[in-house]
């Protein structure tokens, strides 16, 4: 599914990623944990194609294709989805309108016919029920006046509707209370399938109680410094990141 090879990236001359190697196979769930400023979010933005970063070395293959050469919208149509840490508000644009525009844009890019209105409505209704997204939320402008939890649920709703093959979740648990965390996690788990892979970026272990990963990576100062099974997350929770930070410093 995804192969990241020796990825180096910088912003305005400042090195953020210093040689990331990461392979995610079909159906796998990988978690990346690490202290603030380790480059986790940068990695997610680079995967989605944000233009603020300069790739100085390395490559990213997505299903064998050179992802770095694709425009953000082409990546989305090819199946890359990013659940934002801070979802963006778009005043005046109704959520339903946004969803339909996005879905049809991707369908068109893939040469598929547009959704009929009844079909679209049915899909939204189903996904909204699972994620406890109210009709009222769907009527409001996208993310405008949404609570933190509502915004995150809306991200997962979009993920469910756009049916991507690689889902990157950037600190989706931040700002969620226990109930919201459960709802969001259930939404994510419902989407797990042998054809769909996940890259879950988080600071805390608690999300991984709900979304159980196959592989856990620890990232620090722009590198993956340790990789292990799901038990690695528990170890981190107990000991904190201090070891990794000091290891780097030493």
């Amino acid at each position: 599914m995804l192969e990241i090879k020796n990825l180096h990236a910088e912003v305005e001359g400042q090195k953020i990623l210093r040689g990331i190697d990461l392979t995610i196979r079909d159906g796998e769930v990988h978690a990346i944990m690490g202290p603030n400023g380790s480059g986790k979010s940068t990695l997610s933005y680079i995967l989605a194609g944000k233009s603020d970063y300069e790739i100085t070395e390395g490559e990213i293959l997505f299903n064998g294709e050179n992802l770095l050469e694709m425009e953000p919208d082409a990546r989305a149509a090819a199946g890359v989805f990013l659940a934002f840490q801070y979802p963006i508000e778009i005043p005046g644009v109704g959520t339903m309108n946004f969803l339909k525009t996005a879905m049809n844009a991707q369908r068109k890019a893939r040469g598929e016919p547009e959704l009929t209105t009844p079909d679209f409505m049915r899909r939204v209704k189903e996904a909204a029920q699972t994620l406890k997204v109210s009709q009222d939320m769907l009527k409001r402008p996208l993310n405008v006046g949404f609570s933190g939890g509502e915004k995150k649920r809306m991200e997962i709703l979009q993920m469910a509707l756009l049916t991507p093959s690689l889902c990157v979740l950037d600190e989706t648990d931040s700002g969620l209370d226990i109930d919201a965390l459960r709802i969001v996690s259930e939404g994510v788990n419902a989407l797990r399938s042998p054809e769909r892979s996940f890259l879950v970026i988080t600071h805390y272990q608690r999300l991984l109680d709900h979304i159980v990963p196959d592989v856990v990576h620890v990232m620090s100062k722009g590198r993956i410094v340790r990789t292990g099974g799901k038990e690695l997350a528990l170890e981190l929770e107990a000991k904190g990141y201090a070891d990794y930070v000091s290891e780097e410093a030493a």
Partner: protein, 506 residues
Amino acid sequence: MPAVQETIEQVKLLDVDKYKYGFITDVESDLAPKGLNEDIVRLISAKKGEPDWMLEWRLAAFRRWLTMEEPTWARVDYPKIDYQDLHYYAAPKLRATATSLDEIDPEILKTYAKLGIPLKEQEILAGIRKPDGGDVLEEAPGGEYASGRVAVDAVFDSVSVVTTFKKELAKAGVIFMPISEAIREYPDLVRKYLGTVVPASDNYFATLNSAVFSDGSFVYIPKGVRCPMELSTYFRINERNTGQFERTLVIADEGSYVSYLEGCTAPMRDENQLHAAVVELVALDDAEIKYSTVQNWYPGDPEGKGGVYNFVTKRGDCRGRNSKISWTQVETGSAITWKYPSCILRGDNSQGEFYSIAISNGRQQVDSGTKMIHLGKNTSSRIISKGIAAGRSDNTYRGLVSANRRASGARNFTQCDSLLIGDQCGAHTIPYIESKNASAVFEHEATTSKISDDQMFYCLQRGMSQEEAVALIVNGFVRDVLQKLPMEFMAETQRLIGISLEGSVG
């Protein structure tokens, strides 16, 4: 199909020729010689078979105009206009007053067909233009006149070529006809109201219009009548080096209601075309007029060559108690737009509204806004202006809200929002507020924003192209105003927004 999607489709279709109305119709024209003098004014009046009082009115305006100076206070910049180098009258040949479509030059009918304007009543009756239903969860666009029927007056260069649904309107007592015909058939009515809202001496361009106006629409809604359908005029400039000077007069008698739509297009030409129209609205006691404009004159090429100079005076007089006048405008075209649809709130408890979307791209210059002049007691007004500037354009909102000494209880709410796309355009807000009555309450809010990179990236990440994302965000920005438009114009407007902003990013 959601409107945004439709916008995109339209943009794609227009790949080669951005301004799809830019074609020229090949018709033989009856053209007055270039230049402006008393003889030309007499010629126009004679062509129209006008009574003497009308000719005298024109001549007085012309003599007045000779003494006036072209104003320079607007934030627009253009080379001096040579008023002697224009034709002041152009009419397609081969027509008397057409009574049926068969008598109209087929080339002209083709033109209107290309513009998507239905002139054949049976087509409208068959409801072929009914817009596609929106999403169930989106609010249904408002408007009691969702029947899809619109009576159309089509003005081609200087003359009205056809007016549809005349008979049906006549049954309701509604008069809807070219103003040149109204001057002959209802001289008393025209004479009573013409120039009472925009006096012949009002301003340079209005005075010029008073001298040489060639045609336009006349509407009279009798007491207590709700006009049974939308009334609409489509203006088309075709002829080269021709000024277009329409005059529109709408009178809503006591307790009546009318919704009027106006659309404009012009061919792509290298030289600038002058359009100086005057619109006068009169609302008597308890009457309501809703006047909507979608202005899409040719804006010129991206380098600023060609395009229409749109110097227009539009004013409504809420003459009666409890009367209401509402202006809604969508300004996407013209090289230069200079217009301030205004309301004189004379009657007690009268209301004025101004809803505006003004989009500028390329080298377009827009200086537009409104005047709300509160004279009566307990009058209220509301202004919502959405300016969008892209390319290297300049977009200015200029508005006046004033309360007279006697205007106790006057209220105004103004909201001016500007959206910038790119970093080579400008948005300016110039509000003037004058209150001579201590009980007046005027509120003014203004914002300026840019489409943020984060918003764009978010939309792209969801699979939208740059154009789709801009169209979506801009349509969201103008949503409050869009909803004020009659349904027939909503879809068209959303398309226009997409087209107007094509090439503004990336």
